[in-house]
Amino acid sequence: MANTVIGESIVIDGEITGNEDLVVQGTVKGRIQLTESLFVEESGAVEAEIETQNVEVSGKVTGNITAVDKVELKAECRMVGDIKAPRILMADGSSYRGNIDMNV
């Protein structure tokens, strides 16, 4: 399946929806809604409400995440916002502020 990449030099202000993986190396503001995985890479900056299957954050995220499956905060990531997901992983070295809801 085609891979969607928002490159480092790209800024999107609006809404992204779809049913395939999305890799963000640039800047996205607004809303992201996917039935697959979102990858925010080291150079990526996302300021958005996020609803996906999986999220993997290595860059910066501001906004709330609702994931059906898993959210993974990698080392060196910076995230501010609430996370709701059944599985949440936080690596040593990640920076995070917000509420976590694992449906416990």
């Binding site: 399946m1 085609a2 490159g7 609006g14």
Partner: protein
């Protein structure tokens, strides 16, 4: 093709403003406004409803909207395009479907 700065895959819809530098390939759906100092390519499976400001535009798929390109616009044989085009060089291939105005910024002789 993987050299492009931004690829919008066939399962993705983007609504809003897209700006920056680096090439953009649209295989999915893009609605809104695009401002890029580079090459925008709308693939055969892609569909774009947007006003575009760019250096170069190549349309293989469906597009509705006005384009202002600083270099070149190519409408290939598989393309369907509705909108106004403005660029110094514009190519309409055999088989391309197009409705709209074309302005090439050519200095016309004074006597016409």
């Amino acid at each position: 093709m993987s050299e492009a700065a931004c690829v919008i895959g066939s399962g993705i819809q983007v609504r809003g403003n897209l700006s920056g530098s680096g090439d953009l390939i649209v295989q999915g759906r893009m609605e809104g406004h695009v401002a890029l100092e580079a090459h925008v390519i709308v693939e055969e499976v892609g569909s774009v409803v947007a006003d575009i400001e760019t250096q170069e535009l190549t349309v293989h798929g469906k597009m509705t909207g006005n384009t202002n390109a600083s270099e070149r616009i190519s409408v290939t044989s598989t393309a369907t395009l509705v909108g106004d085009l403005r660029a110094p060089r514009i190519v309409l291939e055999d088989g391309a479907r197009f409705r709209g105005t074309i302005e090439m910024d050519v200095p016309l002789p004074d006597d016409i």
